[in-house]
Symmetry: C2
Subunit: 358 residues, 2 copies
């Protein structure tokens, strides 16, 4: 029996992927030069599909990197001379902050209890902040911040750049890019693809900052600095030989989701999330970790329990479902469930049935 | 008709790859967490296969990065406070130098005419050099430097680190890692895989340098600095969610080459290279670019001609073979032919037949 991966990413793959891969390999798509017309067409098709699916405006570059973690590094290198500001309510927001520290910047932060959100209205962001970093959907805690709150940051600080980690948000959550300057995700989450690709959307005007930093003598990185990334994006190319299969498949899976209907995907995601939250809200020993229903992520559902996590997961695994354990300090306290477009409602019902049985 | 990619990379894929990919996807190998036991087993298997195939000693780390270009960046960041020294005889050696400059180091160099080699004996390397960089097989010119020459560098400078670009060298060329501290390659060349993965071998003692740089306050990078890469390699893990399909397939293709016999692979590579060089040595209008037969690469064969390159390549392409054009300034003057283990002798004969016919 093949197992179902209800993990928060890497996760279940769209079953179409192996055939898509084989067909593309046979066509020579993974053998073409990344400086060829053929590759430019593959890249352009993917850019069109992804920006259509995620409503990314035309004044944004689409950069292809190797992971969301690389995106964090390149963002700090290319937009922060000294001061970034970080909203930290989980391990991935913390990672963004740590990367700024390691790059010898002077990051500041506001931190709340993991599993909760922020009052964006009252947060005091220093005037000399260059970049504000927010994690929309914290995969480590299952908190999805209200998008209006994130937009408020930009409304209050139009002079500062706002970067949003949307790693596990898309394609379910729809962003208004009017109030976001940079956003990034990776493909092994909401797109049901194997890992190995990070995508970053960067407002074209952000390049002014990178250029000014370069002129001032800052180290903005080498082959993947924003200036090189942009110059290559303009040609529908990449800075180095990229993960062509992942770029190709991301386009194809975006097309698939578009074909099946974005609204259908959203409605189904909400239905599945409701099924899971409703069940565990009434469960005796396993409860949703996020108490404020408004903050509960629809895509990464985190549960807490006093039960022995390893045993619960093994029992579920034995019955054909793989779930994620908790992150960091929650390793032995949390169960995390991925609820992405790839996951079918029927399987969610079966998973809940398993928990009911035990 | 499917075309044959006799390109210098990305190149022809091993025909087994699509089935290997489909089987692994069905097993859930591309859905597992990169912090799971299952992933550790995949990574360990690949490390064992690759180090066996390439004779990499046990006192070397195997790091998985996204591309050879990333390897260059991470090497400079983690081993050079100020001074690197570069042997430049082509565009890829030049790139290594440029990356050192962009990272605000003070790289020095010796440069020869592209298409030629070096007299390693007489090259004057400054005493305060920390890292010496050599490109063993210059994909842009078709020069393979004599390995004994490269070893001589280390013999003369045992106190300095030696990093060797072996991007298009392996698995055909066999390295003696006694005289190399760092080497790196990418999978879309000699391993006949789709692109998206860079592999780096780093002598474990090199870490002392990175640690000392970190203590002194140097920026050695973030998630992919050598210290984090090593800590994760020790656990058979990676620093971030990596390109799992590429890691898995690299192991499988290494096994395939081992099964078929390394000596067979080497003999066949030499036979195919001889066929190509002998033919073009006698050709009227298309000649090997590298005049010194001792320096001619067996894996990336570069030809020069006064003919209109685009027309020649189109004619060949029309007949089912894709070749690479020249690199950089040689774009309209060179034809480059990849001669990797994936390329069959029968197809080489057919390719030569095509050139004979025209």
């Amino acid at each position: 029996m093949n197992k179902k991966y209800f993990t928060v990413g890497p996760t279940e793959l769209f079953p179409e992927i192996a055939d898509m891969y084989a067909a593309a390999a046979a066509e020579g798509f993974f053998s073409v030069s990344h400086r060829s017309k053929e590759f430019e067409e593959i890249l352009e098709a993917t850019v069109n599909s992804v920006t259509t699916l995620l409503d990314v405006p035309e004044d944004f570059y689409v950069f292809f990197l190797s992971s969301a973690t690389e995106c964090m590094e390149r963002i700090i290198e290319n937009t922060v001379e000294k001061k970034s500001f970080h909203f930290i309510n989980g391990y991935f927001a913390q990672r963004f902050f740590d990367i700024a520290s390691l790059l010898k910047k002077e990051p500041a932060f506001v931190k709340t209890d993991f599993g909760t959100g922020f009052d964006f209205q009252i947060t005091n962001i220093p005037d000399d902040t260059e970049l504000i970093c927010v994690t929309h959907n914290e995969t480590s805690t299952g908190v999805a911040l209200p998008l209006e709150g994130i937009y408020k940051i930009k409304k209050q600080h139009p002079d500062k750049l706002v970067a949003v980690d949307i790693v596990t948000s898309v394609p379910y959550y729809s962003m208004d890019f009017t109030f976001i300057d940079i956003a990034f995700f990776s493909v092994q989450k909401g797109f049901g693809l194997p890992p190995g690709l990070g995508i970053m959307f960067v407002r074209k005007s952000v390049l002014e900052k990178s250029k000014s930093m370069q002129t001032k003598g800052f180290n903005i990185g080498t082959y993947n600095n924003f200036i090189k990334l942009a110059a290559n994006a303009d040609k529908h190319q990449t800075t180095m030989t990229p993960n062509i299969p992942a770029i190709y498949l991301l386009g194809k899976i975006s097309d698939l989701i578009l074909e099946r209907g974005v609204e259908t995907m959203r409605t189904e995601t909400e239905k599945k999330a409701n099924l899971i939250y409703n069940f565990f809200d009434k469960h005796d020993t396993i409860k949703p970790f996020v108490k404020d229903a408004e903050l509960r992520s629809k895509t990464t559902i985190v549960l807490e329990t006093e039960l022995e996590i390893q045993k619960v997961l093994e029992k579920i695994d034995y019955n054909g479902f793989v779930l994620s354990k908790g992150y960091g300090e929650y390793k032995d306290k949390h169960i995390r469930i991925g609820n992405f477009p790839v996951h079918r409602q029927e399987d969610v019902s079966n998973l809940i049935y398993l928990f009911r049985k035990f």
